[in-house]
């Protein structure tokens, strides 16, 4: 399968004309945005190690350049800088960048770093102005996992198929690899390395090699204007190769043997429905995903399942104009279970999370947006423990505000 996608990549590269460097400047688009937010949580830290004191470590800036190289070939890329608590730290990275060869109206192919289709909103998650609330519903679009689910390097096929009176279907299938800088992902540092080092061991190196990333989606634009129905599937598998440094100050040969941690976000599927009518929007999605993280046969670490479960989540969200069309009020109910068979512990709040939120979005100008919202939360899943040294509180809340400028 990978060979087929590799062949697509080669064909796309061959399709780039030698005169691309001499593109007419009027054919090149330049867009960009800057977002800055403020997050303040009560009782528990959230997405930042000090959000209980309020944090401005919540921003994004992006520059997008694209050009129609030939009638069938379009190329483009986006550079993104972001900061979210301990992640990002405003280093610019290639968010996406690919060549897009549109063969005909029903079929096209892309090669490069491509945003992964998952649910209806994953592809646009780096652009604050595309959504009505500051964060996408966390049951399905976990901020902590953004690096694993954002984009993959590889090739994809896509297109639009007319269904006559029933509407049309957009399809995408993407095969590639997720390339992660381990040092930039807080949950790897805290979850995997921190988990091992709790036993007095020291991890002196850790690399990630993605074995496989596959994402596919079908979105039906139904005959009822404004109603979209979607199904998407995501599977990301990889291995962390690591080595311990020492044990009790002495480096025993067995300790120094390399260890591997298998990580799988497997069989994640999302069912989606969205209805847009003028300024009213109704959205709901449901997902299940198998999450496996396992340390494999090391003389000291042994074989250890760090995470094995099938998570479940869903949300419903409504947005309506308030007073003026530019001011929109959103209400969200978002539910997540780490293990769909246990539904969590309602005494401690472990293993689940229920988020009731209300938010405002004000489009001050066509290119200036302000958002503010309040989230009332029960439960501590997922990963809240990684941001807090103190015991977790079951009932907590946060407020977040963000402003975005774009061109």
């Amino acid at each position: 399968m990978k060979k087929i996608y590799f062949a697509i990549t080669i064909m796309l590269l061959a399709a780039i004309p030698t005169g691309v460097m001499a593109l007419d400047l009027s054919n090149i688009r330049l867009n960009g945005f800057v977002s800055q937010g403020y997050l303040d949580s009560s009782k528990n830290n959230y997405l930042d190690l000090a959000s209980k004191d309020g944090t401005f470590q919540l921003n994004e800036a992006g520059i997008t350049i694209s050009a129609q190289a030939t009638d069938k070939l379009r190329i483009g890329f986006q550079l993104l800088s972001r900061d979210l608590g301990p992640e990002g730290n405003n280093n610019f990275v290639l968010d996406w960048g690919f060549a897009d060869y549109r063969i005909n109206n029903a079929l096209g192919a892309r090669a490069g770093k491509i945003k992964m289709p998952m649910g209806l909103y994953n592809e646009g998650r780096d652009s604050d102005m595309l959504r009505d609330m500051v964060f996408l519903p966390q049951s399905i679009y976990k901020e902590s996992w953004r690096s694993f689910m954002g984009a993959a390097q590889g090739a994809s096929l896509y297109g639009n198929v007319d269904l006559g009176g029933l509407g049309d279907v957009e399809y995408q299938a993407l095969l590639g690899e997720v390339n992660i800088d381990v040092s930039s992902v807080y949950l790897i540092q805290e979850g995997i390395i921190g988990g091992i080092e709790e036993n007095g061991l020291v991890v002196n190196k850790l690399n990630f090699k993605c074995d496989n990333a596959f994402a596919a989606s079908l979105v039906m634009n139904t005959a009822l204007n404004g109603l979209r129905l979607g199904f998407s599937y995501l599977d990301v598998q990889g291995v962390f190769d690591g080595q311990l440094n020492s044990f009790g100050g002495t480096a025993f040969p067995a300790v120094l043997e390399p260890f591997t941690v298998e990580a799988e976000l497997k069989d994640k599927y999302v069912l989606s429905a969205e209805y847009l009518h003028q300024y009213l929007s109704l959205r709901t999605e449901y997902m299940q995903a198998r999450n496996n993280i396992r340390i494999n046969g090391h003389p000291v670490l042994g074989t250890n399942d760090m995470v094995v479960d099938t998570a479940e989540g869903y949300f419903v969200m409504a947005t309506v104009p308030t007073f003026t069309d530019a001011l929109k009020l959103s209400a969200l109910y978002d539910v997540y279970y780490s293990n769909k068979n246990h539904k969590g512990d309602t005494q401690t709040g472990e293993g689940y999370r229920k988020d009731i939120a209300i938010g405002l979005r004000y489009d001050v100008l066509n290119n200036w947006i302000i958002k503010a919202e309040y989230h009332d939360i029960e439960g501590t899943a997922p990963f809240l423990v990684n941001y807090n040294d103190d015991p977790l509180e079951k009932d907590w809340s946060y407020v977040v505000a963000k402003t975005t400028f774009l061109f």
């Binding site: 688009r29 867009n31 945005f33 992006g62 997008t64 694209s66 129609q68 009638d71 069938k72 379009r74 483009g76 890329f77 986006q78 996406w96 960048g97 690919f98 897009d100 549109r102 005909n104 109206n105 491509i114 945003k115 592809e123 646009g124 780096d126 652009s127 102005m129 595309l130 639009n160 049309d168 957009e170 204007n225 404004g226 847009l276 003028q278 300024y279 069309d325 489009d363 066509n366 774009l406």
Partner: protein, 139 residues
């Protein structure tokens, strides 16, 4: 005086309603062999879902910036609100998945661009049609 103001206000309201529901006609370059386009294809063209004419030529759609005719196009043919249409193309641009229609400032520029380039499609108010472009019949 009050009566005059009332009549003036009513006239302005009626005129603005006429303008917002203004009839538009679709145009293309004279050299384009396409003579007609369906309403369903119009919607797909302005959403970027159809990229090529039946003869394989790249479709180059044009949009007028902030005009009543543009509102008519978006609301009656694309069947979205202007806000939804703007969000649709923002998503396409910032994820790399599409390129929005070219924007022009007025009808004269629309006719000039559509009449000059290959594979174009645009729209103007009915009374602005002249021999520099070809009218596309809507099925």
């Amino acid at each position: 005086m009050k009566k005059t103001l009332s009549i003036l206000t009513m006239t302005l309201i009626v005129m603005s309603q006429i303008a917002s529901a203004s009839e538009i006609i679709f145009i293309t370059a004279k050299g384009n062999p396409i003579d007609s386009v369906s309403t369903s294809d119009l919607k797909k063209i302005y959403l970027g879902k159809i990229a090529y004419w039946d003869n394989g030529l790249l479709i180059r759609p044009f949009l007028q910036k902030d005009t009543a005719t543009t509102n008519t196009l978006i609301e009656e043919y694309v069947e979205m609100s202007p806000y939804q249409y703007s969000q649709y193309w923002r998503k396409a641009v910032f994820t790399g998945k599409g390129k929005p229609p070219f924007e022009v400032r007025n009808e004269d520029l629309m006719k000039k661009m559509v009449g000059t380039l290959e594979g174009t499609i645009g729209y103007i108010s009915a009374d602005a049609l002249d021999s520099s472009v070809k009218e596309l019949k809507v099925d």
